[in-house]
Assembly symmetry: C2
Homo-oligomer: 124 residues x 2
């Protein structure tokens, strides 16, 4: 949910406040970094840098920017929690769980096929 640019309310967005600059009405950060969520910008700035994020947002359609900011904020948060693996640690864990479930499903199906080969339906 994008809040309207905070510059009109004299309260700079979290990005402009952190960067100590005037929050202009056309500020690319303001809709996604409201003043009441300062940590979101601090994290994104620490991991990606404000100028990289500005470039990335300017290359996107405005309708895609909120999703982009939220995915950057998630990635930044993960990188600060786990500086070695970040998001990639989450991916590794999910891939491991996926392989485990695939094995469990394969076992269950193999077990089922033994019953089915006996010509009995399980729908008793």
């Amino acid at each position: 949910m994008a809040s309207s640019s905070s510059s009109s309310s004299n309260s700079p967005c979290a990005a402009c406040k952190f960067l100590r600059r005037k929050c202009q009405p056309e500020c690319v950060f303001a809709p996604y970094f409201p003043p009441d969520q300062p940590q979101k910008f601090v994290n994104v700035h620490k991991v990606f840098g404000a100028s990289n994020v500005t470039k990335l947002l300017n290359e996107l359609h405005p309708s895609q920017r909120e999703d982009a900011v939220n995915s950057l904020a998630y990635e930044a948060d993960m990188r600060l929690r786990d500086p070695v693996y970040g998001c990639v640690g989450v991916i590794s864990l999910l891939q491991h769980q996926l392989r485990q479930l695939q094995m469990d499903l394969s076992c269950a199906k193999s077990e089922l096929s033994k019953y089915q080969s006996l010509g009995i339906t399980g729908h008793a």
Copy 2:
């Protein structure tokens, strides 16, 4: 596999070559950005910025730096392929597959329990 610092062979590492600076023997990038993989540094620099990566590597134990660089390179590659969602798109996809597999496994187990309640073993 960390290659030795390329500064000794007069060939700067991919990072120093890109940043047009002298590759010193103690260069923090050299072991992880060999000259024959220029794109790896270009991607990481474009998404995270060289100074952020330098800070992050300097805060880690040398034994953790290679994994950190490889996870940053993967994240950067994903962000360039999918500027809106990056790695988080991969996580969403894996979570979706995981939920699907959990439902499939739950169905298979429920089916199995019907056979088992008939008192028949499937080990025919």
